[in-house]
Every structure is written in C-alpha cells, then in structure tokens.
C-alpha cells in the first residue's frame, strides 16, 4: 500500500514535470494506466524494475519490421497511436512517442503488455504468435520511438 502511494506520487510528479513539454494525458486515461501498472507490479513482483538490455541494430530492424506488420494498424506507423484502425476503436492505442506515457510503466511491464495484452482492451497478447526474442525486438523498437522535446 505504501509503495503504491509512493509510486502514484512519483508518477504525478513526473506528469506535472513533463506537462509543459508534451501532450498531457487525459486524467481518466491516466487512472486506467495506473490500474494496469498496479496489476503488473503485483504480477511481476521484484522483476518489475529489472532493466532491459539495449537492442542491437539487427534487433531494431527486426522489431521495426514486426511493428509495421502487427502493431502499426492501431499504434500507427510512427507509433503515435494514430493507426488507421485506431479511429474506430473504443479506447485509444498507446502513443509511444509521448515521453510521459513512456515512463508510467517499467520496461518489464511494457514487455509484459506485449506478451499478455491488456484484458478488456483491443490490445491483445502476442506471446503465442511471437517468440520471446521477437517480443524483445518489438519492445526494443517501441522504446526507440519516444520523442524527447528539449
């Protein structure tokens, strides 16, 4: 409970820090993301904060190819959440270019979302389709999409 409060506080601080620089996140969306984060913290336990190794060039290339094939429909070819499928969907696909959104989940959490999907949303789990290696490649590419505005 304590860590929960703490982490929410950290996120709020982060959000307010970034707000002037990038697109603010809709409060309702933010609270939905917080729920997902809490669930993943519980699910992953201490693994939640483990770092993920940087992707190699070949991994990035592989990741880009898979991203265009499997993810771009919803998340957009540039990863900004503006895929042509997205217009009609109930929720809004995550915008990977937004630095605020990118910091709400840990790296392991984002990997887990690629593997398992987000229940109740159009984001499905890809662990049956992609090998673990490919999941890592896709994540490597997704991580590289963040646009930092300085």
């Amino acid at each position: 409970m304590k860590s929960l409060l703490l982490s929410s506080g950290v996120v709020f601080l982060l959000v307010s820090c970034y707000q002037q620089q990038s697109q603010p996140i809709d409060p309702q969306r933010l609270s939905h993301m917080m729920e997902i984060r809490q669930r993943l913290e519980k699910e992953l336990g201490e693994r939640y904060d483990h770092p993920v190794a940087a992707a190699s060039d070949s991994q990035l290339q592989r990741g880009q190819k898979l991203f265009i094939q499997l993810c771009a429909g919803c998340h957009g070819p540039r990863g900004d959440g503006k895929g042509h499928v997205a217009e009609g969907l109930a929720g809004h696909p995550s915008d990977f270019t937004n630095p605020v959104a990118a910091t709400i989940y840990s790296e392991q959490a984002r990997l887990q979302i690629i593997r398992k999907g987000v229940p109740g949303t159009p984001m499905m789990g890809w662990e049956n389709v992609l090998t673990e290696e490919d999941v890592l490649a896709v994540y490597g590419y997704v991580r590289s999409l963040v646009v930092s505005k300085k």
Binding site: L66, H84, G88, L89, N128, V129, L130
Partner: protein, 324 residues
Amino acid sequence: MKHSVKIFAIALLVAFSSCNTSTPSFKGTEMPADIPGIDFTLTDQNLQPFTLSERRGEVTLIFFGFTYCPDVCPLTLSNWKRIEEALGADAARVRFVYITVDPERDSPNKMREHLAIFSPNFIGLTGTLEELLPVYSAFGVYREKEQVSESAAGYIINHTARLFLLDRSGRWRLSFAQESPAEDVVHDIRLLLNEKSPQISVENIWSWPAHAAANGDKMGSTAAVFMTVINRGSAADRLLSAYSETAETVEIHETVMVGDRMKMQRVTDGIEIPARGQIEFKPRGHHIMLIGLKRDLQPGERFPLVLEFEKSGNLTVESEVREP
C-alpha cells in the same frame, strides 16, 4: 363496371410507376440471381451452434477475419460498430457474423473476448477446418498463411476482405469492398430490410390413391392433394394455381357453407398465405383437386406437383400417395 375499370387503371399506373423505381439501386456489388443457396452450421463465441438458415427474416452481414489480424479485421469490426449505431432500432433485424479464417488460434473463448471490445451483438463463428472450408469456398474466400515469427503460431493470414450481405431469405445478394463507407452498407441493409420476402415451404403433402380415368371420360376420375403451406416470411403470399402432369386439370378448391350444407367450390383468385402463418389443406377444407387423372395413383408412390405463388414463384413439391 366503371369502378373496376378505374381500379384497373390505377393498378396499371402503380405497376408501371413501380417498374421504373422497383430496381432499387444498391451501392454494393450485386450477386447473380442464380447463385446457389448457402447454409452452414458453426459454433458461436458462447459455444452455441449457429445455423445460417435458422433465423430467416433477418439480414445477415458476413466478414471473414481472425483475432490476431493487425489491420483490416479490427478496422472492419469498428466499421460494423458504426453501421450498428447508424441502423438504430433496425440493427435488431441484422445479424453481424464474423467467421474466423484462423480456426487453429481462434477458439470460441478468444472470439468472445475479441468481439466484446466492439459490440455485444456481433456473432463470432469458429469450427474445425473441415466445417469451415465449405463456407470459405461458398463465399469464394481465399486465405494464405504468412509466417512472421519463428514460433509455430507466428503467422498472420492474408485473406479475402470483402463484406457479404445476405437478404432476409438467406440468399447472398451483395458484396462490398472492405473499405466501403459505412453509409453505403447501411443504405443497402435498409433496402433489404424493406424488401417484401415471403418464405414459403410446404410440408406433409399427400393424396388418396385413385384410378386413372377411363378412356374418353376426362372428368371421370379425380384425386385430392392435402398439405400444409407455411410462410415464415414477413409478407403475405398467395397460392395462385397448381399443375401436375398426372392430371388434365388441377384446381384449387375450398369448402364453403351454403346454408347448412358444405359445398366445394373452385378458388379463382388464389389463397392467401399470411405472413408468419400457415394454411392447412385438409379433407373438408382447402385442397388441390386433380381432375381427369392420366394414370393410377398407387399407395406408396410419389408424384411431383408444381405450386405457383404470387411472390415466391413456382415451387415444385412431391406428394405422397397413401390411405387417409
């Protein structure tokens, strides 16, 4: 007399004016009228059997897709959502049927989770490949796996992405490009919903055994045919006449009370088969009269009878000869 001439003139006018506008202009691509009838039974996302022909009277929209589809399938489903919303109350008379092209991975459970994101009313069908192949071929659906990852399940499926629209009698009438605007599909669904479509079937057809007429005695020998005519459609139809090669003349008769006596008389303007109703042809009621039999009707044999309906056209049925 004057009156009836007037009515005739009006009827003619109506007939002509409806001629000009009666071919409704569909937005989708129309299928040829002689396309073979399609029926199948698959399993829906709630593990219930779904048979296409079971609920006649509804327009059916069909798309073939799969849950791991990254683009056209979810795009189509979101478009369906728009179509459903645009139809308003009419949506209750439309079935949205999503059939998997990926039975290996799309279990009913997976279909349920996936479709729930779009609408609780969409029907998701799965089955074994053996069950699905005839359905793909009936709609000319092409499908081909494309491997994207090394795992066994690491593939997507390239497949036909057209929408198919079936009318209320279950006949495949139109197809649309996947990217067709929702308004076009809504437009054609409305046209199909407004079509008058009787759905006639005939059951339990039988007649008494009888002997052929003796030479030269054309009116000598008769037989009666009994049956149940069922109309499952939402518009009434009318049985106009009947024909059988076993008899010189075939007439539709009804039994009426004249005073306190029953009298059989010929029906000249046909018998109405009400919408969602049925008419029983039975002894001492309506029946089909075969007059001047050309041959014997032996117990156990069957002979064809053509029934002409005002809207449904000709229907060939088989009558069984048996003792009452």
